[in-house]
Symmetry: C3
Amino acid sequence: MADNLQLNDEGKLKHFLTIEGLDKSLLTEILDTAESFIGMSDQQVKKVPLLRGKTIVNLFFENSTRTRTTFELAAKRLSADVLSISIATSSTSKGESLLDTIRNLEAMFVDMFVVRHAISGAAHFIARHTAPHISVINAGDGQHAHPTQAMLDMFTIRQIKSDFSSLKVAVIGDILHSRVARSEILALNTLGAAEVRVIAPKTLLPAHVETLGVSVYHNLMEGLKDIDVIIMLRLQKERMTSALLPSESEYFKCFGLNEDKLKYAKPDAIVMHPGPINRGVEIDSKVADGPQSVILKQVSNGIATRMAIMAMAMQKPGMTS
Amino acid sequence: MADNLQLNDEGKLKHFLTIEGLDKSLLTEILDTAESFIGMSDQQVKKVPLLRGKTIVNLFFENSTRTRTTFELAAKRLSADVLSISIATSSTSKGESLLDTIRNLEAMFVDMFVVRHAISGAAHFIARHTAPHISVINAGDGQHAHPTQAMLDMFTIRQIKSDFSSLKVAVIGDILHSRVARSEILALNTLGAAEVRVIAPKTLLPAHVETLGVSVYHNLMEGLKDIDVIIMLRLQKERMTSALLPSESEYFKCFGLNEDKLKYAKPDAIVMHPGPINRGVEIDSKVADGPQSVILKQVSNGIATRMAIMAMAMQKPGMTS
Amino acid sequence: MADNLQLNDEGKLKHFLTIEGLDKSLLTEILDTAESFIGMSDQQVKKVPLLRGKTIVNLFFENSTRTRTTFELAAKRLSADVLSISIATSSTSKGESLLDTIRNLEAMFVDMFVVRHAISGAAHFIARHTAPHISVINAGDGQHAHPTQAMLDMFTIRQIKSDFSSLKVAVIGDILHSRVARSEILALNTLGAAEVRVIAPKTLLPAHVETLGVSVYHNLMEGLKDIDVIIMLRLQKERMTSALLPSESEYFKCFGLNEDKLKYAKPDAIVMHPGPINRGVEIDSKVADGPQSVILKQVSNGIATRMAIMAMAMQKPGMTS
């Protein structure tokens, strides 16, 4: 296990870069630790001193107010000091100067990098080259992975559905370009979901997608049959212009989720979306705001899940330590 | 009283959106609470733990370093965690996506929104739609209201002049476009000022301005007679080009306050301005920096007053609780 | 001594604007205080409560993520509240409105300004005009001074070489435009370095540079003979186009430091650079990343040195007070 960049010699979480290579017990430990933080938000004082005196650097090479905000809140509720640095990718287009940035921040005795980067593998690269005492969290790299999003979704699923082994989950939309999709599928399979389906037009599926351990559907209504959990993906507007798709309304007609189509899934199916949602493009407002939607619960769980991952990577898991 | 969006069932402050609908005793409670914070700034440690563990979101859809800074300082001195989010109005031009932004932040367990928006009514809109445990403070909405500015000005007036009932107050300048003016006039009348005058050219006065409970003057020197408190307004440069005004120098000649014109007011009259001042446009530097100016005292009182409003809206008034 | 703007009536540090006018004992006190903070970064909790409740304003009229970050970290590790304000120089091109900015921040009961400005003398100007209880730290003003950089370099030199009186130091590169160079030379001479040399082409040396107490070399290899400490300067790319220099590669051939040229210095010479480095322009990567380089140690020491200067300027020196 020691050859996994993400684990230390004792097999404990050190970096959190991808779901790949992490086993069921570790993912379950993350979910359990997040569970211990979930009640906190109702308390008068929503802070624990677990990471007091630690410095966490939000290193965002790609703009994302939403993700930056949840990591910043999670860090502050762990009592860490947070430094948010936005870096235009242009000024660090050469790997060498990215390394110089990292070296300089390391020298300032920081403890963790939360990295968002448009290039796949950027967080791995930093983890591989950073000082041994520093942890790296991947907050989204290119089209590769967005593992904290996957874990908060696993947390949300477990919160409502309890047991993964009987669950049929459908991931719907632009699988091809989605770092979220890749991480979700890996996490669901690792946690032992009964079946994972992808539902998408052929142009938005990667070649050999079946090798990820999914069954493939091109028809939304067929794919939704017997489904317990629906994970919608955001449709990036720029894909429209790239000739991969005919038009927004055409896409919505075929793959957008509305109340009628939702009826094809199990009656107690839950609807998830990583946000921000495109109302009327991939999801109808009546579904997004409807009783089966857990989209805002995902946001709430995002704080506790990221607190758990940050605390574990700094070897201080749980509320009682 | 329960139909007032700003008050909870017990008639306590919940949101602070406008002076309208708040009675004299509530405004006085704000001033008294601010009083309890005023000594703090001289202490070695300028912090109280009143809002420790609370998360306050500065939600600025309109840029304002000065106002954002005072709210941020006030929040930090109450020991709250502060999240500052600047949002270009363009990206949230549709009400629906403004709501999505709010829903997402709510889901992150935040406790208060401090809202600045170019559209009148934006803070009310958010207060009406946000979760019940969240308080909303209006930090300026369009041409509608800027109630925290009005309250810090009331605090400054009371600090120097003690009793409102004998005071004659003149508000001078662009009444038409000023959210500050509207809030000041309401607050002065609620607190029982003897007389409130507006002094402005006709083009910078709203129709039926008298219905606000003011007497109207178009001549600065006449209007200043017997005045105890002078509230100058900032002249927005963009009004100049809109043909409402002849020229900056012409405006200064008629409505700008210099030492000579100041003599028409009472000898102990104080001069106020919400800032930032346009030296030589609406006010001469000799007056702005002179002995009757309390402009910087207003800035100082802004911290204590905003601390008071934030603490009260979270039902934790005063220094002793 | 009381006529020195930087010292209070008791001769203690009040502002830190330039090395000029500070004597050896004061500089040594800064180094000793920094020493007391240096172990801290290894502790679990990297914070001391020395400046708890104090408000430090980073007032950056010139963009510098790196310098702003180190000051922000230093302030947070002293438990101060930090407010970072970036101001485009354009909007405050008139001295008067710079003063209005300062007056307003003063009125908010802030305790310290850390000032970065493109105009030489800006920090002095603010120190001369600010309220008596406020301290000003110069974080770089035009081509004038960058005294905290000089002090962290002195700290690094003392850490490795112990005694200044036997040291020969070379400052290499664009002396003419470098605020770092001026501050380094002053500090080295005040601390009693045996010899300070500047090595540069004639076009990058100020007139009468000898009057600063340096010996002048135009040949890198000659100048490096017997040198203990090498301080490289960053070559600003914009100088290239200004016809002061032939080309980057030509400059590197004559004044760039590579492994071969480094051999002309003493075998245990250390190589310093204020960063960010231009690899292949003024310094070769093999030297920058080599065993004699202390460039990253400088960054680390920057935190402790800035903590020392901030704590001393607020009259709370050392770890035990």
